[in-house]
Symmetry: C2
């Protein structure tokens, strides 16, 4: 069998499994998920052994320590995967929700009902825990998954999937669709463009990882892709902001967890408040070892700042405004009010999460309406863009796209809908 | 300027216009739409003159009569375009709807609000009326449009867009975004792949037309595409169907308007009812000059049918089951109950519209749950899949995709959403 034939068969089986999976009851799906969680814990020793093989090969291949850390499984991480599956079991079933209902003048009753999307390809990098997390969310939402993790994690991923499928089979017997959770059984790079050309069997691709991976997937895919793209998030401190609140939000958005996509990368400060606010926030950022890349006006104000430790300061380049640092580095720009802030954000941002701090409601409304992003905040940190914080329970990622889901993607965002028409013999005249 | 530069500039201006358009009030948009309708009627003579140039060139180029008819504008068609714009003005504004609202335990209030998608490229074939219809729907839903019609309709399309934009400008003055409605000013085929590579400025492409056009667009696009693909629709007549109702629905689904996408292409008949139902429906179809392509069992039953005129009958090929005839041709297959019907539909159908006729509720539920299509009907004709029939007022098409909109796409389906977080200084801990 060629790779093309092998993957076509895999996808065809996923499509067939998705038909069975879509018809399972909530209780059946939850029983499977809990059995899967138990099985992962029971098989911890085998999982750590498979992972050890991946780790050894990756170490021999010279993988960077940060990547090795992502690849590593330990008892705590296996327990976390199991816990994740149990949490997904506890969430409401997103399938079957009645989204709309209407009766037409001819008596035809129309219902818009949430249904699974079908077959979802998930492409991700080193972390093997994504295998269990993504499979669990897709399973609960009635979707078959084809998982393609990092090449270095293949043994770990294959064993995780095998444990999940065996446990489902044990819980449900013949009714369990064995091909509903599959790991692509090769590290061949050609597998991705082949899989993403199978529009007859694959409904959606969700890539998770760095910008390079996501761009490469979007570039080659013939199936719809929902991108979980970079987060170049902004906080705009308006001239009418409460300075204490502004300082709290800026420090939280930048420093609480700088490596995540909803952390702030650029601080915009209204020219009216810049002379007082910039030195204050400059000292607070210096104390947290945040480096600043500043526009000329901010540079001018901050250059003579006295702080301990001293502020690391340099001029921002044009490219800096587009950059997701994921680190203790912050762009700072002085703007002429909310309109210039909106223009900057729509021009340089990644349509992820942006916040305004102001006491002026009209200014806030202008910002919330004008900024084109998945999430916009008034007097709150950008860090809230997260499935858990939004009350979705768990998320498969945060979409920066507009078609399909936008913002945090939980179980409901892994469904589509169908229209059901209930008639009594209606025909069209 | 190269074509690439020219189209990039056009798309960049569309993006800028979309920002202004998104902020117009409902009243402002409706005033523009009504002014546009008036202007189209006022400029009828000029429109017919521009269309005459297109018609002459198309006739000289040997365009087929059916295509020439689609290209032709007359006073009635201009009036219909104007009426369409007024109807869109009368529809509720889909922007600003609050789709969800929740308050988190930390007091953060989250609202999911409908917003325009942004910039939409519409690609279509000969009919110039699509220019006004699509521009009107996109404008009302706050989206800038880039219109690419058939090459033979360029003069007509350019003048329509020019009239719409001038009217909007007159109605709203400086607040009207002049680049919100643009026609691609070239017939160069290269324009389409270039436009559909401009992911920074274009949010969505909606192709309208034949299978070839839609496949070509989907193949080359780097922006999301919502496909309005072929309709291979089915009616399954169950063993427990009311034969009178079944006959009415079958005749309606096939014959009322055979050229449209929600017309039936394949009739599936339960083996239990085939001996009585097939001769009956065969005679009714023969009377309406419908040709039949039948499976062996149906062929066997229908071969000796006495009817006037005689039934045109031939064996169905494998390819026939996949075919959208858009004509008075019908595939007929005898199946072993609802499960085989579901399997046939999911295998050969185009996930558009499928119906079951039965008095057995359990059988109906199995069908409605098992068939994976945008619209499924119990005891009603497939012909109801339509924006007007669904109460949406107007539609830009019927999506056979699952990501983004599914089924009829009206104004609401031309919006996406953003999350708005209203805080009092909340930070993440």
């Amino acid at each position: 069998m060629t790779l093309q034939e092998q993957l076509t068969e895999l996808a065809r089986q996923a499509r067939a499994a998705s038909r069975t999976l879509a018809l399972l009851t909530t209780d059946e799906k939850n029983r499977c998920l809990r059995a899967m969680a138990d099985a992962l814990e029971r098989e911890t020793a085998a999982l750590l052994e498979a992972n050890r093989r991946d780790m050894e090969a990756a170490t021999a291949a010279g993988l960077r320590p940060a990547m090795l850390d992502r690849l590593r499984l330990d008892e705590k991480r296996v327990a976390a995967m199991a816990r994740g599956l149990r949490e997904v079991a506890d969430l409401p079933d997103p399938v079957g929700r009645i989204l709309e209902e209407r009766v037409r003048p001819n008596g035809l009753r129309l219902r818009k009902v949430a249904v699974p999307i079908g077959v979802i390809v998930i492409i991700y990098e080193a972390r093997p825990n994504v295998t269990a997390d993504a499979a669990g969310l897709c399973f609960k939402s009635g979707n078959a998954t084809i998982l393609r993790g990092g090449r270095e994690a293949l043994h770990s991923n294959q064993l995780i999937a095998q444990i999940l499928v065996s446990a489902g089979r044990e819980a449900l017997g013949d009714r369990f669709p064995m091909q509903a959770i599959q790991v692509v059984p090769t590290t061949d790079r050609e597998a991705i463009p082949i899989l993403l050309s199978l529009t007859q069997y694959v409904d959606l691709c969700i890539p998770r990882g760095g910008e390079g991976l996501i761009r490469a997937v979007a570039e080659c895919s013939r199936v719809p892709v929902i991108k979980h793209y970079k987060g170049v998030c902004h906080v705009y401190v308006d001239g009418e902001a409460d300075p204490d609140m502004a300082e709290q939000i800026v420090l939280n958005a930048k420093c609480q967890r700088p490596a995540v996509c909803n952390a702030m990368e650029t601080l915009l400060v209204d020219r009216r408040i810049a002379p007082s606010f910039l030195p204050r926030i400059g000292r607070a950022l210096a104390a947290r070892k945040v480096q600043i890349r500043a526009c000329p006006a901010a540079l001018e104000t901050l250059r003579s700042l006295q702080s301990d430790p001293p502020l690391e300061l340099r001029p921002a380049t044009e490219q800096d405004w587009y950059t997701e640092y994921n680190d203790l580095i912050l762009n700072v720009r002085v703007v002429d009010g909310v309109r210039e802030a909106i223009t900057h954000i729509n021009n340089y941002g990644s349509a992820h999460s942006d916040a305004i701090v102001t006491c002026n409601e009209q200014t806030a409304q202008e910002f919330l309406a004008g900024v084109d992003a998945a999430a916009v905040y008034w007097n709150a940190s950008t860090r809230f863009t997260d499935g858990g914080e939004f009350g979705m329970g768990a998320e498969i990622g945060i979409s920066t796209d507009k078609v399909g889901a936008r913002g945090p993607m939980g179980l409901e965002e892994l469904t589509t809908y169908k229209w059901i028409g209930y008639g009594q013999g209606q025909i069209r005249t």
